[in-house]
């Protein structure tokens, strides 16, 4: 087998040359060779045959003719040659005949054409000329060696040639028939020869394609038959072996299929080639099977790594066993154990592996649960303070858990294992009992070990209670084998139970203080402490602890009192349970009592009422350190709660007692009725008021007794409370007015329990009231009409009285304010007002205190307040009366005056006041500053001391004339300072006249104008200079402007014309000689035109630039957002085919010339578009910020991501015709930015730019 592909070739897939075809081709080839040979050879043979016969025939004829001539010629001579020739009996095939002499001269001729003389040397010859179908024969006529002449005869060969053709045709047809026959023979023969072979091949193919029952034909008795038989027997053998193999494979397969373990086979790429049912089931793929999948598809997160590690391991040829967590397609999580063995066809390779899978999920779960339940048990035992133990009777050893050792106060493994060691730890009688119980069980006398409880003494001497439980295990013969169980520490429980029992027993029959006493006694006994007490706290400057019950070592002890502060109870009272295990004296060195009794430990619990108010403290003080606070804590908490309840009850009792006492002692009659309306209580005052004794009244209905009608019709529940006056009748029959206040006493369940009625005899009150009313009416009238604002404020700080003057002063009417707080106190004075009221109501009084109140209309009014307290009948001050004066006017005047005096004092002018005679009464500080004279030096002097003598006399005359006529005088005076310097003053002097018009004073206000006069002079001079210069410059400017205008006029008119001519004539020239123009000339013309055009643009731009400097600026509000939008739209043609992102934030409205500003944006945006040309995604952004130069302008920044420029040339940027790029790179005249700068400058703004080459540029300007 060289080519496996050929080996596996199926039937019917042969190449083009089958054996059959080869045989057929061989036969065909033989037939063809024969046919071709015969076909080529035969015509030549036929032709030779036919022509040979014709030649022979003609030669005979010629020879015969020759003979005749030989006979005839010598006799008759040459002349008769023609006759002789005619006499020769030629047959019809002779075309011509002639006789020639030796020189070639014809002697006789017969036939249509002449023939040249024969040049034949031979005696006899013949020549065939096929084309004219002629056969020429020549015969030399000799007689006895004497040459007579030469005979030439031409024969027609036509009929012979036709015969040749016919025979050849016949032969060819025969050959063709033979060929066809050969083909047929070849086909049939090949078929017949190869049939058995084909059959055999077909059989083999059948077997190869699985039809094992196919057999070759072995019937023929030749070699093929033998071959078939041999093949068949081979097939038989092979089939039986293969069937056996398949059976064993099926057995194996069914075995694997039914294995409970999963089996898979994977290839070298870990793809599953085979998987049994169990494996499919493990992976939840019963339906589809695992084949074609990969294990990694099922892995849980984080498992891939370990799986890959295992695969690596396996690839090195090792068997690996590992566990994997998988997640099945249905979502279930499983843990599987995998045993994988690699498969290798040759050592050192890896062809895949077989894996055996076991689902260990349940086992894993069980393992986990076991661990959990063990932990749980241990935790439970620990929590219950329980230890476990077991006792093997055979070895007589006990095993204790660590917890149990802890309960017995032993270190871990501190228990030796001897049961006696355990029993020895049980004190006294209990040891005996425990031993007996144990051994009873050991000897099998008891069925089981019942629960026993006993004490143990720990190595440190402390006593604990333990509860032992156990179970007996027996051998099969019934003998006890071992015992196991638990022991629990129940000390806590025992002690609590014991203490509680004792206390309940001790306090069952008592209440009140007695109860408390019993409680502390039992407590001190139960806990074995030195002191137990319940204490209240008496509040005061230093709160005191006052005991209610004290027990000392189980017996009642005297009460005591001590400071709360500095005592352990301080931490307890009203706060929380407090516990000092030891060293109490050191902690509270200030408490002598603790030292006296030798206190060591303390435990206190706060006693709280049901409404969580502190009631007192329950505390115990021990002589020894406390080692188990838990027990103490629970006992104390229980006792504390009980003591608190008792204390609370006692408090209530006390309250009730107090109330009852109070009821008895009050002067009003108090009665209580039950639900039926019968009196159940009456106080002493009732007896006095109505004349009935309590015993007479109790049990009777109140309405009957007092002969009144119930206001509510008698139903208790109808009226919860009622107040009002009634007329009541005494026992004596006399009637009197009574004021009643009744209220229903509610029960806890909401049903009324009764009604309490308080009655006051109003007889005296009424009389007094009447008297008071008339007096106060009069007083009230007085107050009401008083011109002073008077108001009265009650204790509740509301207005009780508000007179008319107050109404006028503040705007609020009496009805507006009575019963409400004072309306006029501004918020910022509210505190001061409250303070004032407090002071007055507290007994003080106020005189002319100044304040500021608010009027109803919102204005403030300055007031002076005098207030005093008004006492009630008992002399207690319950009202405040205020008398308020409006001092606004005075205040205003004061303020004015103060302001004026400050103004005068601070004034930067000299102010001088003289009396009518001119003696100085006042000068302000600036006067002394100006003149150099001190105030004291000038008081009483006449202002003429300042005279310099330079002021013209007329000025003074005018001054006095004006003043004496009562008018104010203004003028400038030149005076002299104390140091002799002259100075100029501008003086305003006015007379001050009294109400009668008499001049009493003069006031002079004088301003030092020396400096001003000097400055004015300077300013005047400078102004004149400036004016002159302005005129000069204006003239220069105007002339320059005129020149500039003339220049630009002539430029715009004249400079363009030649250019236009150049361009026009060149254009015309080009049109004119268009046909004869060579490319170079054309290029020259183009250049001329281009240059002319460019020159024109330059001139236009320059003109526009110069125009910018001359046109008038028309400032207006410009919405730059809209402007930018407009410009952007107009630049549309520049943007064609470009993608440019324009990013404008909110743009402001500015004051500017719209047309010019538009040009700025147009230039900058057009630049941005131009210089971003190389960018696929160009972006232009406009941002604004307030300019940072503090000018209040806006700064605009136009940023692009284009070509940028080198900052080294930034200063050139805004110059006229300055360009940073060549025209080839970016077109333009270089005037755009110059325009921008000129426009921005004209707006007073500035321009700048920043950029980097190839990283965009930002152009900024302010406007």
């Amino acid at each position: 087998m060289t080519d496996p592909a050929a080996y596996h070739r199926g039937p019917g897939r042969f190449g083009p040359f089958t054996v059959r075809a080869k045989i057929a081709m061989l036969i065909l080839l033989l037939v063809a060779i024969v046919a071709i040979y015969v076909g080529v050879r035969m015509p030549t043979v036929i032709e030779r045959e036919v022509l040979g016969s014709a030649l022979r025939r003609s030669q005979q004829t010629t020879a015969m003719a020759g003979r005749i001539f030989i006979e005839t010629l010598p006799r008759q001579g040459v002349l008769s040659a023609s006759g002789t020739l005619a006499r020769v009996p030629f047959d019809s095939t002779v075309v011509y005949a002639g006789v020639f002499d030796e020189q070639g001269t014809p002697l006789a001729w017969l036939g249509p054409a002449t023939e040249k003389a024969p040049s034949l040397s031979a005696s006899r010859a013949s020549e065939l000329t096929r084309h004219d179908r002629l056969l020429r024969t020549v015969e030399r006529l000799e007689v006895h060696g004497h040459h007579l002449g030469t005979l030439v005869v031409g024969y027609d060969l036509t009929s012979d040639l036709i015969e040749i053709k016919a025979e050849v045709a016949t032969f060819h047809i025969g050959s063709l028939v033979l060929l066809f026959f050969g083909i047929a023979v070849a086909f049939v023969a090949s078929n017949w020869l190869t049939r058995p072979l084909t059959e055999l091949v077909r059989t083999m193919s059948s077997i190869a394609s699985g039809r094992l029952d196919a057999r070759a034909d072995a019937s023929s008795r030749d070699e093929f038959g033998a071959l078939g038989a041999a093949f068949n027997s081979m097939v038989e053998q092979w089939t039986s072996a293969s069937t056996e193999l398949r059976r064993s494979e099926e057995r194996f397969r069914s075995l694997v299929e039914n294995l409970s373990e999963g089996v898979t086979i994977v290839d070298a790429h870990e793809t599953i080639l085979y998987s049994n049912r169990a494996a499919d089931e493990i992976f939840g793929e019963l339906e589809h099977g695992l084949v074609g999948c990969r294990l990694t598809d099922y892995l849980e997160n984080g498992q891939l790594e370990s799986m890959e590690r295992e695969i690596e391991e396996r690839r090195t040829g090792r068997r690996s066993i590992y566990e994997l967590s998988i997640r099945r397609r249905d979502g279930q999580h499983r843990t599987i154990e995998i045993t994988a063995s690699p498969r290798a066809s040759t050592p050192g390779t890896y062809d895949g592996a077989q894996g055996i899978f076991r689902d260990v999920t349940d086992r894993k779960l069980a393992e986990a649960r076991l661990g959990e339940s063990e932990d749980r048990l241990r935790l439970a035992l620990e929590a219950a303070e329980m230890g476990t133990w077991s006792w093997d009777f055979e070895t007589n050893r006990m095993v204790w858990s660590e917890q149990l050792e802890r309960i017995f106060g032993l270190v871990p493994n501190g228990f030796g294992g001897d049961p006696e060691e355990y029993l020895r730890m049980i004190p006294g009688e209990e040891q005996r009992r425990a031993r007996r119980t144990m051994y009873d069980a050991l000897y099998g006398w008891t069925k089981d070990l019942h629960t026993i409880t006993h004490r143990i003494r720990r190595p440190d001497g402390s006593i604990r209670w333990v509860e032992v439980r156990g179970t007996l295990y027996r051998l099969e013969n019934g003998h006890p084998r071992s015992m196991a169980g638990t022991m629990a520490d129940i000390t806590h429980r025992r002690m609590t139970e014991g203490a509680l029992e004792a206390i309940v027993r001790g306090t069952a029959t008592t209440t009140g203080r007695e109860f408390l006493q019993d409680l502390v006694r039992e407590l001190s006994r139960a806990l074995g402490v030195r002191l137990a007490f319940i204490s209240r706290v008496v509040s005061g400057p230093s709160p005191m602890l006052r005991t209610l019950a004290v027990a000392d070592q189980g017996t009642a002890a005297p009460q005591f009192e001590c400071d709360l502060v500095g005592s352990p109870c301080e931490h307890v009272y009203g706060r929380k349970t407090t516990f000092f295990a030891s060293g109490l004296r050191e902690l509270f060195p200030a408490s002598p009592m603790l030292h006296d009794i030798g206190a060591e430990s303390y435990f206190g619990v706060p006693l709280m009422s049901s409404s969580n108010k502190p009631l007192g403290v329950l505390a115990v003080i021990g002589m020894h350190p406390i080692d188990d606070s838990d027990i103490l804590s629970s006992i104390m908490t229980v006792f504390g709660a009980r003591a608190a309840a008792e204390l609370e009850r006692m408090q209530v009792e006390e309250h009730v007692h107090l109330l009852a006492h109070a009821m008895m002692s009050i002067s009003e009659s108090v009665t209580i009725e039950d639900l039926t309306g019968s009196l159940i209580y009456a106080n002493d005052a009732f007896e006095e008021t109505y004349g009935y004794t309590r015993s007479e009244a109790i049990g009777r209905r109140r309405s009957e007794l007092l002969s009144i009608e119930e206001p509510s019709g008698g139903g208790l529940a109808d009226v919860a409370a009622w107040r009002g006056e009634q007329v009541h009748r005494r026992k004596s029959g006399s009637e009197f007015p009574a004021f009643l206040s009744t209220s229903v006493i509610p029960g806890e369940d909401g049903i009324p329990r009764g009604r309490v009625t308080i009655a006051t005899d109003l007889t005296l009150t009424k009389q007094a009231e009447e008297q008071l009313r008339s007096t106060s009416e009069a007083l009230r009238t007085v107050l009401e009409v008083s011109p002073l604002a008077i108001l009265i404020v009650g204790e509740d700080r509301t207005v009780e009285f508000w007179n008319r003057a107050a109404e006028q002063m503040f705007g609020w009417g009496s009805v507006d304010v009575v019963g409400k707080p004072l309306p006029f106190v501004p918020a910022h004075l509210a505190d001061a007002e409250v303070d004032m009221q407090d002071a007055v109501l507290g007994g003080g009084s106020i005189t002319n205190a100044e304040s500021q109140y608010r009027r109803k209309d919102g204005n403030t009014v300055d007031v002076a307040i005098s207030a005093t307290g008004l006492p009630d009948a008992s002399g207690r001050i319950v009202r405040m009366m205020s008398i308020i004066t409006d001092i606004s006017e005075r205040k205003r005047a004061e303020v004015e005056l103060r302001k004026l005096s400050v103004a005068v004092d601070q004034s930067q002018v000299s102010i001088v006041m003289t009396d009518a005679r001119g003696a100085i009464e006042y000068v302000n500080p600036f006067f002394t500053h100006t003149t150099g004279y001190a105030r004291e030096e000038v008081l009483g002097q006449n202002p003429r001391i300042l005279k310099s003598g330079t002021t013209p006399g007329e000025v003074y005359q005018d001054l006095w004339k004006t003043l004496s006529s009562g008018h104010e005088w203004h003028g400038e005076l030149c005076n002299r300072r104390k140091n002799g310097d002259l100075y100029w003053e501008f003086a305003s002097i006015s007379p001050v006249r009294d109400s009668q018009g008499v001049t009493t004073h003069f006031i002079a206000v004088k301003e030092d104008i020396t400096e001003r006069r000097r400055s004015e002079e300077e300013v005047r001079r400078l102004n004149a200079e400036l004016e002159r210069r302005v005129i000069d410059r204006t003239a220069q400017l105007e002339s320059a402007n005129r020149e500039l205008e003339a220049f630009s006029y002539s430029v715009s008119h004249d400079l363009r014309a030649p250019l236009r001519h150049v361009s026009g004539y060149v254009e015309m020239l080009r049109d004119h000689i268009n046909g004869t123009l060579d490319p170079t000339s054309r290029r020259y013309l183009e250049a001329i035109m281009g240059s002319a055009k460019r020159m024109g643009i330059l001139i236009d731009d320059l003109l526009a630039f110069s125009r910018l400097g001359r046109t008038e600026l028309r400032r207006d509000k410009v919405d730059t957002a809209e402007l930018v939008r407009e410009v952007w739209m107009e630049l549309e043609p520049d943007r064609v085919g470009r993608r440019i992102d324009l990013d404008c934030e909110e743009l402001p409205t500015v004051q500017a010339d719209r047309t010019l500003l538009k040009q700025v944006f147009a230039n900058l945006l057009s630049n941005a578009i131009k210089f971003t040309r190389g960018r696929d995604e160009a972006s232009v952004a406009i941002t604004t910020l307030p300019a940072d130069d503090g000018s209040g302008r806006m700064a605009f920044h136009i940023r692009d991501n284009g070509a940028g420029f080198d900052m080294a040339y930034a200063d050139k940027l805004f110059g006229v015709f300055q360009r940073l790029h060549t025209v080839e790179e970016f077109e333009g005249t270089g005037i755009g930015l110059a325009n921008v700068r000129r426009i921005v400058h004209r707006h007073g703004g500035k321009t700048w730019a920043s950029a980097k080459p190839d990283a965009g540029a930002t152009f900024s300007f302010t406007v």
Partner: protein, 151 residues
């Protein structure tokens, strides 16, 4: 309209004159164009005096007027025409190199009917003048030849 109404071109620069004439000829109205060499010439033409003394008195259909001309400049010509009772209706289109705002304002204030800036681009210039000639010479209906104001 009468296609024979004259068009008067006032241009002092001979080359500009030639270029403009070429444009008008291209528009097919070369034969209708009369040429004045300066402002004084224009006025002579309109008043049929000086070298135009023999001219039939007829107001042209259009005056194409250069602004900067020797002797009498364009603006002055406009002023005189607009002040003249007979000539004031004559359509005037200024053809100038200048696009100065000042010139524009002065011309329109003076009462011109159109203002065309001579383009630097010859082809544009040709086109503009042709359009100008076509509109004013063919499309526009000019005022009557002897349009003495009746108002």
């Amino acid at each position: 309209m009468n296609p024979n109404r004259r068009i008067l071109l006032a241009e002092d620069d001979p080359q500009d004159r030639e270029l403009t004439l070429k444009a008008l000829s291209d528009a097919g109205m070369g034969s209708r164009v009369d040429v004045a060499n300066d402002g004084a010439d224009v006025l002579d033409y309109l008043h049929c005096r000086g070298r135009f003394a023999g001219r039939p008195r007829a107001i042209p259909a259009l005056l194409i007027l250069d602004l900067k001309m020797p002797k009498v400049d364009g603006l002055e010509v406009v002023r005189q025409i607009r002040e003249d009772e007979v000539l004031r209706t004559l359509p005037i289109v200024v053809l100038s190199s200048s696009r100065e705002e000042r010139d524009l304002i002065a011309c329109y204030r003076g009462g011109v009917n159109g203002y065309v800036v001579k383009s630097m681009e010859f082809t544009d210039h040709l086109r503009h003048v042709r359009l100008l000639g076509e509109f004013w010479g063919s499309v526009n209906e000019p005022p009557p030849e002897s349009s003495r104001s009746t108002a």
